[in-house]
Amino acid sequence: MTELTKHGWGEAHRPEPAFPPLRVYVWEQPVRVSHWFIFLAVVVLSFTGYYIHNPFIVAKSSTPFLMATIRFIHVVTGFVFISAFLLRIYWFFKGNEWSNWRAFVPVHRRQWRGMGRMVAYYSFLRKDLVHQVGHNALAAVTYLVMFTLMFVEIITGLTLYTQVRGGWLLAPLFSWLPRVIDIQYIRLTHFCIMFAFFAFVIHHVYSAVLVSWEERNGLIESIFTGYKFVPRDELAEDSARREAD
Protein backbone atom coordinates (compact mmCIF):
# COMPACT_ATOMS: atom_id res chain seq x y z
CA MET A 1 0.00 0.00 0.00
CA THR A 2 2.90 2.28 0.70
CA GLU A 3 4.07 1.63 -2.82
CA LEU A 4 0.75 2.77 -4.18
CA THR A 5 0.84 6.01 -2.30
CA LYS A 6 4.36 6.60 -3.43
CA HIS A 7 3.93 5.99 -7.13
CA GLY A 8 0.28 6.71 -7.58
CA TRP A 9 -2.45 4.41 -8.66
CA GLY A 10 -1.50 1.41 -10.69
CA GLU A 11 2.23 1.95 -10.80
CA ALA A 12 3.25 -0.38 -8.04
CA HIS A 13 4.61 -3.02 -10.38
CA ARG A 14 6.92 -0.71 -12.21
CA PRO A 15 10.38 -0.58 -10.75
CA GLU A 16 12.27 2.67 -10.76
CA PRO A 17 14.93 2.52 -13.44
CA ALA A 18 18.41 2.68 -12.07
CA PHE A 19 19.72 4.63 -15.02
CA PRO A 20 17.80 7.38 -16.71
CA PRO A 21 16.47 6.21 -20.09
CA LEU A 22 17.94 7.57 -23.29
CA ARG A 23 16.21 10.33 -25.17
CA VAL A 24 15.84 8.90 -28.68
CA TYR A 25 14.72 10.87 -31.75
CA VAL A 26 12.20 8.40 -33.16
CA TRP A 27 9.67 10.38 -35.21
CA GLU A 28 11.38 12.72 -37.60
CA GLN A 29 9.81 15.98 -38.65
CA PRO A 30 8.14 14.77 -41.90
CA VAL A 31 6.47 11.97 -39.92
CA ARG A 32 5.00 14.37 -37.38
CA VAL A 33 4.05 16.99 -39.97
CA SER A 34 2.29 14.45 -42.18
CA HIS A 35 0.62 12.90 -39.12
CA TRP A 36 -0.96 16.16 -38.04
CA PHE A 37 -1.87 17.33 -41.50
CA ILE A 38 -3.53 13.98 -42.19
CA PHE A 39 -5.38 14.23 -38.88
CA LEU A 40 -6.60 17.79 -39.45
CA ALA A 41 -7.52 17.03 -43.06
CA VAL A 42 -9.51 13.95 -42.00
CA VAL A 43 -11.44 16.02 -39.46
CA VAL A 44 -12.30 18.69 -42.01
CA LEU A 45 -12.95 16.18 -44.80
CA SER A 46 -15.24 14.09 -42.61
CA PHE A 47 -17.34 17.06 -41.59
CA THR A 48 -17.61 18.56 -45.07
CA GLY A 49 -17.92 15.14 -46.71
CA TYR A 50 -20.77 14.12 -44.44
CA TYR A 51 -22.46 17.42 -45.19
CA ILE A 52 -22.13 16.77 -48.92
CA HIS A 53 -23.70 13.34 -48.41
CA ASN A 54 -26.48 14.61 -46.19
CA PRO A 55 -26.81 18.41 -46.02
CA PHE A 56 -27.98 18.57 -42.41
CA ILE A 57 -27.89 22.36 -42.36
CA VAL A 58 -30.52 23.68 -44.76
CA ALA A 59 -29.87 27.28 -45.62
CA LYS A 60 -32.56 29.88 -45.40
CA SER A 61 -32.79 32.29 -48.26
CA SER A 62 -30.48 34.72 -46.49
CA THR A 63 -27.61 32.21 -46.15
CA PRO A 64 -25.63 32.30 -49.33
CA PHE A 65 -23.67 29.59 -51.09
CA LEU A 66 -23.45 27.06 -48.26
CA MET A 67 -23.11 23.82 -50.24
CA ALA A 68 -20.76 25.38 -52.77
CA THR A 69 -18.52 26.70 -49.95
CA ILE A 70 -18.50 23.32 -48.19
CA ARG A 71 -17.63 21.56 -51.42
CA PHE A 72 -14.84 24.05 -52.06
CA ILE A 73 -13.41 23.42 -48.58
CA HIS A 74 -13.73 19.67 -49.15
CA VAL A 75 -11.82 19.81 -52.42
CA VAL A 76 -9.05 22.08 -51.13
CA THR A 77 -8.65 20.00 -47.96
CA GLY A 78 -8.61 16.91 -50.13
CA PHE A 79 -5.54 18.18 -51.91
CA VAL A 80 -3.92 19.05 -48.56
CA PHE A 81 -4.63 15.47 -47.50
CA ILE A 82 -3.07 14.13 -50.69
CA SER A 83 0.04 16.27 -50.14
CA ALA A 84 0.44 15.04 -46.58
CA PHE A 85 -0.06 11.46 -47.75
CA LEU A 86 2.56 11.86 -50.47
CA LEU A 87 5.01 13.34 -47.95
CA ARG A 88 4.54 10.29 -45.75
CA ILE A 89 4.98 7.95 -48.73
CA TYR A 90 8.20 9.78 -49.60
CA TRP A 91 9.37 9.29 -46.04
CA PHE A 92 8.69 5.55 -46.33
CA PHE A 93 11.83 5.51 -48.44
CA LYS A 94 13.89 8.29 -46.88
CA GLY A 95 13.01 7.94 -43.22
CA ASN A 96 14.79 6.23 -40.32
CA GLU A 97 14.30 2.61 -39.38
CA TRP A 98 11.09 3.29 -37.45
CA SER A 99 9.31 5.20 -40.20
CA ASN A 100 10.69 3.22 -43.14
CA TRP A 101 8.34 1.02 -45.16
CA ARG A 102 10.18 -2.03 -43.83
CA ALA A 103 8.75 -1.34 -40.40
CA PHE A 104 5.20 -1.72 -41.74
CA VAL A 105 5.22 -4.66 -44.12
CA PRO A 106 5.06 -7.92 -42.14
CA VAL A 107 7.58 -10.06 -43.98
CA HIS A 108 9.53 -11.43 -41.01
CA ARG A 109 8.39 -14.10 -38.65
CA ARG A 110 9.42 -11.79 -35.79
CA GLN A 111 6.71 -9.35 -36.90
CA TRP A 112 4.03 -12.05 -37.00
CA ARG A 113 5.07 -13.25 -33.55
CA GLY A 114 4.92 -9.66 -32.35
CA MET A 115 1.41 -9.35 -33.70
CA GLY A 116 0.38 -12.49 -31.83
CA ARG A 117 1.80 -11.04 -28.62
CA MET A 118 -0.08 -7.80 -29.08
CA VAL A 119 -3.34 -9.59 -29.82
CA ALA A 120 -2.75 -11.67 -26.68
CA TYR A 121 -2.09 -8.50 -24.69
CA TYR A 122 -5.23 -6.76 -25.95
CA SER A 123 -7.38 -9.81 -25.30
CA PHE A 124 -6.02 -10.17 -21.73
CA LEU A 125 -4.23 -13.44 -22.44
CA ARG A 126 -0.93 -11.78 -21.61
CA LYS A 127 -0.16 -9.57 -18.68
CA ASP A 128 2.56 -7.33 -19.96
CA LEU A 129 3.32 -5.37 -23.04
CA VAL A 130 6.41 -6.11 -25.10
CA HIS A 131 8.14 -2.76 -25.21
CA GLN A 132 9.00 -1.33 -28.62
CA VAL A 133 11.05 1.64 -29.70
CA GLY A 134 9.03 2.20 -32.87
CA HIS A 135 5.63 0.75 -33.77
CA ASN A 136 4.65 -2.60 -32.37
CA ALA A 137 3.96 -5.20 -35.04
CA LEU A 138 0.17 -5.04 -34.73
CA ALA A 139 0.10 -1.26 -34.87
CA ALA A 140 2.37 -1.29 -37.92
CA VAL A 141 0.01 -3.60 -39.81
CA THR A 142 -2.96 -1.47 -38.78
CA TYR A 143 -1.22 1.60 -40.16
CA LEU A 144 -0.48 -0.26 -43.36
CA VAL A 145 -4.21 -0.99 -43.70
CA MET A 146 -4.97 2.66 -42.94
CA PHE A 147 -2.50 3.89 -45.56
CA THR A 148 -4.19 1.55 -48.04
CA LEU A 149 -7.62 2.91 -47.12
CA MET A 150 -6.29 6.47 -47.46
CA PHE A 151 -5.02 5.55 -50.90
CA VAL A 152 -8.44 4.14 -51.87
CA GLU A 153 -10.04 7.30 -50.50
CA ILE A 154 -7.72 9.45 -52.63
CA ILE A 155 -8.38 7.42 -55.78
CA THR A 156 -12.17 7.45 -55.33
CA GLY A 157 -12.10 11.12 -54.38
CA LEU A 158 -10.14 12.14 -57.45
CA THR A 159 -12.43 9.99 -59.59
CA LEU A 160 -15.45 11.80 -58.20
CA TYR A 161 -13.64 15.07 -58.79
CA THR A 162 -13.25 14.24 -62.49
CA GLN A 163 -17.06 14.27 -62.67
CA VAL A 164 -16.88 17.96 -61.88
CA ARG A 165 -13.59 19.03 -63.36
CA GLY A 166 -11.01 16.92 -65.11
CA GLY A 167 -8.34 18.94 -66.82
CA TRP A 168 -5.37 17.51 -68.63
CA LEU A 169 -4.07 15.47 -65.69
CA LEU A 170 -6.93 14.02 -63.65
CA ALA A 171 -9.33 13.15 -66.46
CA PRO A 172 -6.98 10.79 -68.31
CA LEU A 173 -5.83 9.29 -65.01
CA PHE A 174 -9.17 8.53 -63.41
CA SER A 175 -12.09 8.89 -65.81
CA TRP A 176 -11.71 5.24 -66.85
CA LEU A 177 -12.65 4.03 -63.39
CA PRO A 178 -16.42 4.74 -63.53
CA ARG A 179 -16.56 2.59 -66.66
CA VAL A 180 -15.31 -0.37 -64.62
CA ILE A 181 -17.03 0.31 -61.30
CA ASP A 182 -20.23 2.32 -61.39
CA ILE A 183 -19.87 5.84 -60.02
CA GLN A 184 -22.44 5.11 -57.31
CA TYR A 185 -20.29 2.33 -55.85
CA ILE A 186 -17.26 4.61 -56.00
CA ARG A 187 -19.32 7.12 -53.98
CA LEU A 188 -20.39 4.41 -51.55
CA THR A 189 -16.79 3.30 -51.02
CA HIS A 190 -15.63 6.89 -50.56
CA PHE A 191 -18.35 7.40 -47.95
CA CYS A 192 -17.94 4.11 -46.04
CA ILE A 193 -14.17 4.40 -45.59
CA MET A 194 -14.83 7.58 -43.59
CA PHE A 195 -16.32 5.39 -40.85
CA ALA A 196 -13.23 3.18 -40.93
CA PHE A 197 -11.29 6.39 -40.16
CA PHE A 198 -13.65 7.17 -37.28
CA ALA A 199 -13.22 3.71 -35.81
CA PHE A 200 -9.46 3.91 -36.30
CA VAL A 201 -9.13 7.31 -34.60
CA ILE A 202 -11.01 6.03 -31.53
CA HIS A 203 -8.83 2.95 -31.29
CA HIS A 204 -5.63 4.82 -32.14
CA VAL A 205 -6.02 7.44 -29.41
CA TYR A 206 -7.07 4.85 -26.86
CA SER A 207 -4.23 2.43 -27.56
CA ALA A 208 -1.69 5.27 -27.65
CA VAL A 209 -2.82 6.39 -24.18
CA LEU A 210 -2.83 2.81 -22.92
CA VAL A 211 0.62 1.95 -24.22
CA SER A 212 2.05 5.28 -23.15
CA TRP A 213 0.81 4.60 -19.68
CA GLU A 214 2.19 1.08 -19.64
CA GLU A 215 5.58 1.89 -21.10
CA ARG A 216 6.01 5.30 -19.47
CA ASN A 217 8.23 6.37 -22.34
CA GLY A 218 6.55 9.59 -23.45
CA LEU A 219 4.70 8.00 -26.35
CA ILE A 220 1.97 10.65 -26.49
CA GLU A 221 4.48 13.48 -26.37
CA SER A 222 6.61 11.85 -29.03
CA ILE A 223 4.17 12.76 -31.82
CA PHE A 224 4.69 16.42 -30.90
CA THR A 225 8.41 16.40 -30.06
CA GLY A 226 9.65 13.34 -31.92
CA TYR A 227 11.51 12.05 -28.85
CA LYS A 228 10.85 8.91 -26.84
CA PHE A 229 12.52 7.86 -23.59
CA VAL A 230 13.90 4.40 -24.06
CA PRO A 231 15.92 2.22 -21.67
CA ARG A 232 19.37 1.50 -23.05
CA ASP A 233 18.94 -2.25 -23.27
CA GLU A 234 15.72 -1.89 -25.26
CA LEU A 235 17.44 0.31 -27.78
CA ALA A 236 20.28 -2.19 -28.11
CA GLU A 237 17.76 -5.02 -28.46
CA ASP A 238 15.87 -3.10 -31.13
CA SER A 239 18.90 -2.56 -33.35
CA ALA A 240 20.16 -6.09 -32.75
CA ARG A 241 16.79 -7.49 -33.91
CA ARG A 242 16.90 -5.39 -37.04
CA GLU A 243 20.41 -6.52 -37.85
CA ALA A 244 19.40 -10.14 -37.38
CA ASP A 245 16.73 -9.84 -40.10
Binding site: F191, Y206, P231
Partner: protein, 372 residues
Protein backbone atom coordinates in the same frame (compact mmCIF):
# COMPACT_ATOMS: atom_id res chain seq x y z
CA UNK B 1 -46.97 9.05 -96.77
CA UNK B 2 -45.50 9.89 -100.13
CA UNK B 3 -44.01 7.56 -102.72
CA UNK B 4 -40.36 6.83 -102.10
CA UNK B 5 -39.15 8.39 -105.36
CA UNK B 6 -40.57 11.78 -104.41
CA UNK B 7 -38.45 14.45 -102.74
CA UNK B 8 -39.07 15.55 -99.23
CA UNK B 9 -39.84 19.21 -100.03
CA UNK B 10 -42.66 18.37 -102.37
CA UNK B 11 -44.08 15.92 -99.87
CA UNK B 12 -44.07 18.55 -97.17
CA UNK B 13 -45.73 21.07 -99.49
CA UNK B 14 -48.42 18.55 -100.26
CA UNK B 15 -49.01 18.10 -96.54
CA UNK B 16 -49.29 21.86 -96.09
CA UNK B 17 -46.11 22.29 -94.05
CA UNK B 18 -44.73 25.64 -95.09
CA UNK B 19 -41.08 26.63 -95.40
CA UNK B 20 -41.09 28.59 -92.15
CA UNK B 21 -42.18 25.58 -90.15
CA UNK B 22 -39.63 23.38 -91.87
CA UNK B 23 -36.77 25.79 -91.08
CA UNK B 24 -37.92 25.95 -87.46
CA UNK B 25 -37.66 22.18 -87.30
CA UNK B 26 -34.17 22.27 -88.85
CA UNK B 27 -33.09 24.90 -86.29
CA UNK B 28 -34.41 22.83 -83.40
CA UNK B 29 -32.57 19.77 -84.67
CA UNK B 30 -29.33 21.72 -85.16
CA UNK B 31 -29.60 23.02 -81.60
CA UNK B 32 -30.28 19.54 -80.22
CA UNK B 33 -27.22 18.23 -82.05
CA UNK B 34 -25.20 21.01 -80.40
CA UNK B 35 -24.10 22.27 -83.80
CA UNK B 36 -23.44 25.97 -84.51
CA UNK B 37 -26.32 27.86 -86.18
CA UNK B 38 -24.59 27.98 -89.55
CA UNK B 39 -25.40 24.28 -89.92
CA UNK B 40 -29.12 25.04 -90.18
CA UNK B 41 -28.72 25.72 -93.88
CA UNK B 42 -26.76 22.51 -94.36
CA UNK B 43 -29.35 20.48 -92.46
CA UNK B 44 -32.18 22.06 -94.47
CA UNK B 45 -30.38 21.48 -97.77
CA UNK B 46 -29.65 17.86 -96.91
CA UNK B 47 -33.22 17.15 -95.83
CA UNK B 48 -34.61 18.78 -98.94
CA UNK B 49 -32.57 16.55 -101.17
CA UNK B 50 -33.02 13.39 -99.13
CA UNK B 51 -34.59 10.43 -100.82
CA UNK B 52 -36.70 8.56 -98.32
CA UNK B 53 -34.52 5.97 -96.65
CA UNK B 54 -36.33 2.88 -95.42
CA UNK B 55 -36.78 2.40 -91.69
CA UNK B 56 -38.05 -0.59 -89.76
CA UNK B 57 -39.01 -0.41 -86.08
CA UNK B 58 -38.71 -3.66 -84.14
CA UNK B 59 -40.40 -4.20 -80.79
CA UNK B 60 -39.22 -6.91 -78.43
CA UNK B 61 -39.53 -7.01 -74.62
CA UNK B 62 -40.93 -3.52 -74.35
CA UNK B 63 -43.87 -1.45 -73.15
CA UNK B 64 -44.16 0.54 -76.42
CA UNK B 65 -43.23 3.58 -74.36
CA UNK B 66 -40.58 4.69 -76.82
CA UNK B 67 -43.04 4.42 -79.71
CA UNK B 68 -45.55 6.40 -77.70
CA UNK B 69 -42.89 8.92 -76.88
CA UNK B 70 -42.06 9.64 -80.51
CA UNK B 71 -45.64 9.45 -81.77
CA UNK B 72 -47.02 11.83 -79.17
CA UNK B 73 -44.54 14.59 -79.82
CA UNK B 74 -46.03 17.39 -81.85
CA UNK B 75 -42.99 19.60 -81.87
CA UNK B 76 -42.55 21.25 -85.26
CA UNK B 77 -44.21 18.01 -86.04
CA UNK B 78 -41.52 15.50 -85.30
CA UNK B 79 -44.34 13.16 -86.10
CA UNK B 80 -45.01 14.70 -89.50
CA UNK B 81 -41.48 15.53 -90.52
CA UNK B 82 -39.60 12.53 -89.22
CA UNK B 83 -42.33 10.11 -90.15
CA UNK B 84 -42.27 11.58 -93.63
CA UNK B 85 -38.49 11.71 -93.86
CA UNK B 86 -38.37 7.94 -93.81
CA UNK B 87 -40.33 5.24 -95.41
CA UNK B 88 -41.55 3.34 -92.37
CA UNK B 89 -41.99 -0.16 -93.71
CA UNK B 90 -42.50 -1.98 -90.45
CA UNK B 91 -43.64 -0.85 -87.01
CA UNK B 92 -45.92 -3.16 -85.10
CA UNK B 93 -47.61 -0.42 -83.13
CA UNK B 94 -48.66 1.76 -86.07
CA UNK B 95 -48.50 -0.27 -89.27
CA UNK B 96 -51.68 -1.07 -91.14
CA UNK B 97 -50.59 -4.51 -92.25
CA UNK B 98 -50.85 -7.55 -90.01
CA UNK B 99 -49.85 -11.20 -89.87
CA UNK B 100 -47.95 -12.74 -92.76
CA UNK B 101 -48.35 -9.59 -94.82
CA UNK B 102 -46.48 -7.50 -92.27
CA UNK B 103 -43.75 -10.07 -91.75
CA UNK B 104 -43.30 -10.28 -95.51
CA UNK B 105 -42.73 -6.50 -95.59
CA UNK B 106 -39.92 -6.84 -93.06
CA UNK B 107 -38.46 -9.71 -95.02
CA UNK B 108 -38.57 -7.68 -98.23
CA UNK B 109 -36.72 -4.75 -96.60
CA UNK B 110 -33.94 -6.99 -95.31
CA UNK B 111 -33.58 -8.60 -98.73
CA UNK B 112 -33.90 -5.61 -101.04
CA UNK B 113 -32.53 -2.76 -98.93
CA UNK B 114 -29.63 -4.69 -97.45
CA UNK B 115 -27.05 -2.34 -95.93
CA UNK B 116 -29.14 0.74 -96.72
CA UNK B 117 -32.10 0.73 -94.34
CA UNK B 118 -32.19 1.87 -90.73
CA UNK B 119 -33.44 -0.34 -87.92
CA UNK B 120 -34.86 0.99 -84.68
CA UNK B 121 -35.08 -1.51 -81.84
CA UNK B 122 -37.29 -1.04 -78.83
CA UNK B 123 -37.17 -3.47 -75.92
CA UNK B 124 -34.73 -6.05 -74.62
CA UNK B 125 -33.82 -9.38 -76.17
CA UNK B 126 -34.22 -12.44 -73.89
CA UNK B 127 -31.48 -15.05 -74.16
CA UNK B 128 -32.55 -17.55 -71.48
CA UNK B 129 -34.13 -20.84 -72.61
CA UNK B 130 -33.35 -20.17 -76.28
CA UNK B 131 -35.17 -16.86 -76.18
CA UNK B 132 -38.68 -18.30 -75.83
CA UNK B 133 -39.78 -15.43 -73.62
CA UNK B 134 -40.34 -13.10 -76.56
CA UNK B 135 -41.51 -14.30 -79.97
CA UNK B 136 -43.01 -12.39 -82.86
CA UNK B 137 -44.72 -14.33 -85.66
CA UNK B 138 -43.33 -17.58 -84.27
CA UNK B 139 -39.68 -16.41 -84.32
CA UNK B 140 -37.72 -15.46 -81.23
CA UNK B 141 -36.62 -11.87 -80.70
CA UNK B 142 -33.00 -13.01 -80.87
CA UNK B 143 -33.60 -14.70 -84.22
CA UNK B 144 -35.27 -11.59 -85.67
CA UNK B 145 -32.59 -9.26 -84.29
CA UNK B 146 -29.79 -11.43 -85.71
CA UNK B 147 -31.55 -11.47 -89.04
CA UNK B 148 -32.38 -7.76 -89.30
CA UNK B 149 -29.80 -5.72 -87.39
CA UNK B 150 -26.53 -6.83 -89.05
CA UNK B 151 -28.12 -6.11 -92.44
CA UNK B 152 -29.10 -2.56 -91.50
CA UNK B 153 -26.87 0.43 -92.20
CA UNK B 154 -27.30 1.34 -88.56
CA UNK B 155 -29.38 0.15 -85.65
CA UNK B 156 -30.84 2.66 -83.22
CA UNK B 157 -31.47 1.19 -79.77
CA UNK B 158 -34.38 3.31 -78.55
CA UNK B 159 -34.79 3.42 -74.80
CA UNK B 160 -33.18 1.75 -71.80
CA UNK B 161 -34.36 -1.80 -72.57
CA UNK B 162 -32.90 -1.88 -76.06
CA UNK B 163 -29.68 -0.29 -74.83
CA UNK B 164 -28.75 -2.36 -71.78
CA UNK B 165 -31.79 -4.51 -71.03
CA UNK B 166 -33.44 -1.86 -68.87
CA UNK B 167 -36.27 -2.87 -66.58
CA UNK B 168 -36.45 -6.33 -68.11
CA UNK B 169 -32.83 -6.98 -67.21
CA UNK B 170 -33.10 -5.60 -63.66
CA UNK B 171 -32.21 -8.07 -60.95
CA UNK B 172 -33.06 -11.00 -60.94
CA UNK B 173 -33.61 -10.93 -64.72
CA UNK B 174 -35.54 -14.22 -65.08
CA UNK B 175 -35.61 -14.07 -68.90
CA UNK B 176 -31.90 -13.43 -69.33
CA UNK B 177 -32.64 -10.20 -71.14
CA UNK B 178 -29.86 -8.11 -72.68
CA UNK B 179 -29.61 -5.01 -74.84
CA UNK B 180 -29.36 -5.17 -78.59
CA UNK B 181 -25.61 -4.56 -78.84
CA UNK B 182 -25.01 -7.50 -76.51
CA UNK B 183 -27.47 -9.73 -78.34
CA UNK B 184 -26.13 -8.84 -81.80
CA UNK B 185 -22.53 -7.64 -81.36
CA UNK B 186 -21.95 -7.39 -85.12
CA UNK B 187 -24.66 -4.74 -85.59
CA UNK B 188 -23.72 -1.08 -85.98
CA UNK B 189 -25.62 0.20 -82.95
CA UNK B 190 -26.22 3.67 -81.57
CA UNK B 191 -27.75 3.61 -78.11
CA UNK B 192 -30.37 6.11 -77.06
CA UNK B 193 -30.85 5.33 -73.39
CA UNK B 194 -33.59 6.80 -71.28
CA UNK B 195 -36.90 5.54 -70.09
CA UNK B 196 -38.31 6.43 -72.54
CA UNK B 197 -35.83 7.86 -75.00
CA UNK B 198 -36.39 11.50 -75.90
CA UNK B 199 -38.00 11.81 -79.37
CA UNK B 200 -36.04 14.99 -80.02
CA UNK B 201 -32.81 12.99 -79.70
CA UNK B 202 -34.09 10.20 -81.93
CA UNK B 203 -35.09 12.74 -84.54
CA UNK B 204 -31.73 14.50 -84.19
CA UNK B 205 -29.84 11.24 -84.78
CA UNK B 206 -31.93 10.57 -87.87
CA UNK B 207 -31.39 14.12 -89.12
CA UNK B 208 -27.64 13.82 -88.47
CA UNK B 209 -27.60 10.61 -90.45
CA UNK B 210 -29.40 12.23 -93.37
CA UNK B 211 -27.27 15.39 -93.28
CA UNK B 212 -23.80 13.93 -92.84
CA UNK B 213 -24.35 10.34 -93.95
CA UNK B 214 -23.01 8.98 -90.70
CA UNK B 215 -23.87 8.61 -87.04
CA UNK B 216 -22.94 11.39 -84.59
CA UNK B 217 -19.91 11.25 -82.26
CA UNK B 218 -20.46 8.70 -79.51
CA UNK B 219 -19.20 7.83 -76.02
CA UNK B 220 -17.98 4.53 -74.60
CA UNK B 221 -21.54 3.20 -74.46
CA UNK B 222 -22.17 4.16 -78.11
CA UNK B 223 -24.49 6.95 -77.08
CA UNK B 224 -24.44 10.25 -78.99
CA UNK B 225 -22.33 12.79 -77.11
CA UNK B 226 -24.66 15.66 -77.98
CA UNK B 227 -27.34 14.09 -75.80
CA UNK B 228 -25.37 12.14 -73.17
CA UNK B 229 -22.20 14.18 -72.83
CA UNK B 230 -23.09 16.35 -69.86
CA UNK B 231 -24.17 15.72 -66.29
CA UNK B 232 -27.78 16.68 -65.57
CA UNK B 233 -26.77 18.34 -62.30
CA UNK B 234 -24.58 20.81 -64.20
CA UNK B 235 -27.46 21.93 -66.45
CA UNK B 236 -30.21 21.80 -63.85
CA UNK B 237 -32.38 24.85 -63.27
CA UNK B 238 -32.42 24.06 -59.52
CA UNK B 239 -28.62 24.06 -59.35
CA UNK B 240 -28.50 27.51 -57.77
CA UNK B 241 -30.50 26.16 -54.82
CA UNK B 242 -28.05 23.28 -54.48
CA UNK B 243 -25.06 25.61 -54.35
CA UNK B 244 -26.86 27.85 -51.88
CA UNK B 245 -27.67 24.90 -49.61
CA UNK B 246 -31.45 25.16 -49.99
CA UNK B 247 -32.89 21.65 -50.02
CA UNK B 248 -36.30 20.05 -50.06
CA UNK B 249 -36.56 18.04 -46.80
CA UNK B 250 -39.82 16.26 -47.48
CA UNK B 251 -42.43 16.20 -50.20
CA UNK B 252 -44.70 19.20 -50.05
CA UNK B 253 -42.69 21.22 -47.52
CA UNK B 254 -41.88 24.89 -47.91
CA UNK B 255 -38.73 24.22 -49.91
CA UNK B 256 -40.60 21.90 -52.28
CA UNK B 257 -43.24 24.53 -52.90
CA UNK B 258 -40.51 27.09 -53.58
CA UNK B 259 -38.73 24.84 -56.06
CA UNK B 260 -35.57 24.15 -54.05
CA UNK B 261 -33.03 21.44 -54.83
CA UNK B 262 -34.22 17.80 -54.63
CA UNK B 263 -30.79 16.43 -53.64
CA UNK B 264 -31.94 15.18 -50.23
CA UNK B 265 -34.92 13.46 -51.84
CA UNK B 266 -32.52 11.18 -53.68
CA UNK B 267 -32.35 13.07 -56.98
CA UNK B 268 -29.78 11.32 -59.19
CA UNK B 269 -29.04 14.39 -61.29
CA UNK B 270 -25.41 14.42 -60.09
CA UNK B 271 -25.05 10.79 -61.22
CA UNK B 272 -26.68 11.02 -64.63
CA UNK B 273 -25.78 12.40 -68.04
CA UNK B 274 -28.56 13.46 -70.39
CA UNK B 275 -29.82 16.58 -72.13
CA UNK B 276 -33.18 16.47 -70.32
CA UNK B 277 -32.85 19.98 -68.84
CA UNK B 278 -32.26 21.61 -72.20
CA UNK B 279 -34.38 19.52 -74.60
CA UNK B 280 -37.12 18.61 -72.10
CA UNK B 281 -40.28 16.68 -72.95
CA UNK B 282 -43.71 17.27 -74.43
CA UNK B 283 -42.62 19.98 -76.81
CA UNK B 284 -40.09 21.41 -74.38
CA UNK B 285 -42.70 21.90 -71.70
CA UNK B 286 -41.09 20.26 -68.71
CA UNK B 287 -38.96 17.46 -67.37
CA UNK B 288 -39.04 15.48 -64.10
CA UNK B 289 -36.97 17.83 -61.94
CA UNK B 290 -38.83 20.88 -63.20
CA UNK B 291 -42.06 19.06 -62.35
CA UNK B 292 -40.83 18.61 -58.76
CA UNK B 293 -39.55 15.03 -58.67
CA UNK B 294 -35.94 13.93 -58.44
CA UNK B 295 -34.11 12.47 -61.41
CA UNK B 296 -33.95 8.64 -61.51
CA UNK B 297 -30.95 8.67 -63.87
CA UNK B 298 -33.05 6.74 -66.39
CA UNK B 299 -30.44 7.40 -69.06
CA UNK B 300 -27.65 5.80 -67.01
CA UNK B 301 -26.27 2.35 -67.63
CA UNK B 302 -28.45 -0.29 -65.91
CA UNK B 303 -30.12 2.37 -63.81
CA UNK B 304 -32.71 0.06 -62.22
CA UNK B 305 -29.94 -1.79 -60.41
CA UNK B 306 -27.22 0.78 -59.83
CA UNK B 307 -29.23 4.00 -59.31
CA UNK B 308 -31.76 2.56 -56.87
CA UNK B 309 -32.96 3.17 -54.19
CA UNK B 310 -34.38 6.13 -56.08
CA UNK B 311 -35.09 8.14 -52.93
CA UNK B 312 -31.70 7.68 -51.25
CA UNK B 313 -28.36 9.21 -52.14
CA UNK B 314 -26.28 6.04 -52.08
CA UNK B 315 -26.86 2.42 -53.10
CA UNK B 316 -27.61 -0.22 -50.52
CA UNK B 317 -24.64 -1.81 -48.80
CA UNK B 318 -24.45 -5.41 -50.02
CA UNK B 319 -25.49 -7.87 -47.33
CA UNK B 320 -27.73 -5.48 -45.40
CA UNK B 321 -31.47 -5.05 -45.52
CA UNK B 322 -33.27 -2.67 -47.85
CA UNK B 323 -34.09 -0.13 -45.14
CA UNK B 324 -30.56 0.25 -43.73
CA UNK B 325 -28.45 3.04 -45.22
CA UNK B 326 -24.68 3.19 -45.43
CA UNK B 327 -24.71 6.08 -42.97
CA UNK B 328 -26.59 4.07 -40.36
CA UNK B 329 -24.21 1.14 -40.74
CA UNK B 330 -21.20 3.44 -40.43
CA UNK B 331 -22.55 5.16 -37.33
CA UNK B 332 -23.31 1.74 -35.85
CA UNK B 333 -19.78 0.51 -36.46
CA UNK B 334 -18.30 3.69 -34.97
CA UNK B 335 -20.51 3.41 -31.89
CA UNK B 336 -19.60 -0.27 -31.48
CA UNK B 337 -15.88 0.52 -31.61
CA UNK B 338 -16.34 3.36 -29.11
CA UNK B 339 -18.28 1.06 -26.76
CA UNK B 340 -15.73 -1.73 -27.06
CA UNK B 341 -12.95 0.78 -26.32
CA UNK B 342 -14.61 1.93 -23.11
CA UNK B 343 -15.08 -1.69 -21.97
CA UNK B 344 -11.48 -2.48 -22.87
CA UNK B 345 -10.25 0.57 -21.01
CA UNK B 346 -12.03 -0.47 -17.83
CA UNK B 347 -10.70 -4.00 -18.18
CA UNK B 348 -7.16 -2.72 -18.70
CA UNK B 349 -7.39 -0.60 -15.57
CA UNK B 350 -8.52 -3.64 -13.60
CA UNK B 351 -5.66 -5.69 -15.03
CA UNK B 352 -3.22 -3.03 -13.96
CA UNK B 353 -4.53 -3.07 -10.41
CA UNK B 354 -4.37 -6.84 -10.19
CA UNK B 355 -0.69 -6.95 -11.10
CA UNK B 356 1.64 -7.93 -8.33
CA UNK B 357 4.95 -6.27 -7.83
CA UNK B 358 7.77 -8.10 -9.57
CA UNK B 359 9.79 -10.04 -7.05
CA UNK B 360 13.35 -9.90 -6.08
CA UNK B 361 14.73 -9.02 -9.52
CA UNK B 362 16.94 -6.07 -8.81
CA UNK B 363 15.93 -3.18 -11.04
CA UNK B 364 19.52 -2.60 -12.10
CA UNK B 365 19.70 -5.99 -13.76
CA UNK B 366 17.53 -4.86 -16.64
CA UNK B 367 19.10 -1.48 -16.97
CA UNK B 368 22.82 -2.07 -17.01
CA UNK B 369 24.71 0.50 -18.96
CA UNK B 370 26.29 -1.16 -22.00
CA UNK B 371 29.86 -2.17 -21.47
CA UNK B 372 32.20 -0.17 -23.56
Amino acid sequence: MFPSNQTFTRALQQKGINRRRFIKFCTAMTATLALPPRYVAQVAAALEKARKPVLVWLQFQDCAGNSESILRSSHPSVLEVVLDLFSWEYHELVMAGAGHQAEAALERVVREEKGKFLAVVEGAVPLADDGVYCTVGGRTALDIARHVCPNAAATIAAGACAWDGGLVRAHPNPTGAVGISEAVPEANVINLGGCPQNPANTAAVLVHYLTFGQLPAMDQYHRPLFAYGRIIHDQCERRAHYDAGRFVQEWGDEGHRKGWCLYKMGCKGPEATFNCPSVRWNDGTSWPVKAGHGCLACASHRFWDVRSPFYERLPQVPGFGADVTAGEIGMGVTAAVAGATIVHGIASAIRDRMRTQPEAVPPQASNQPPKA
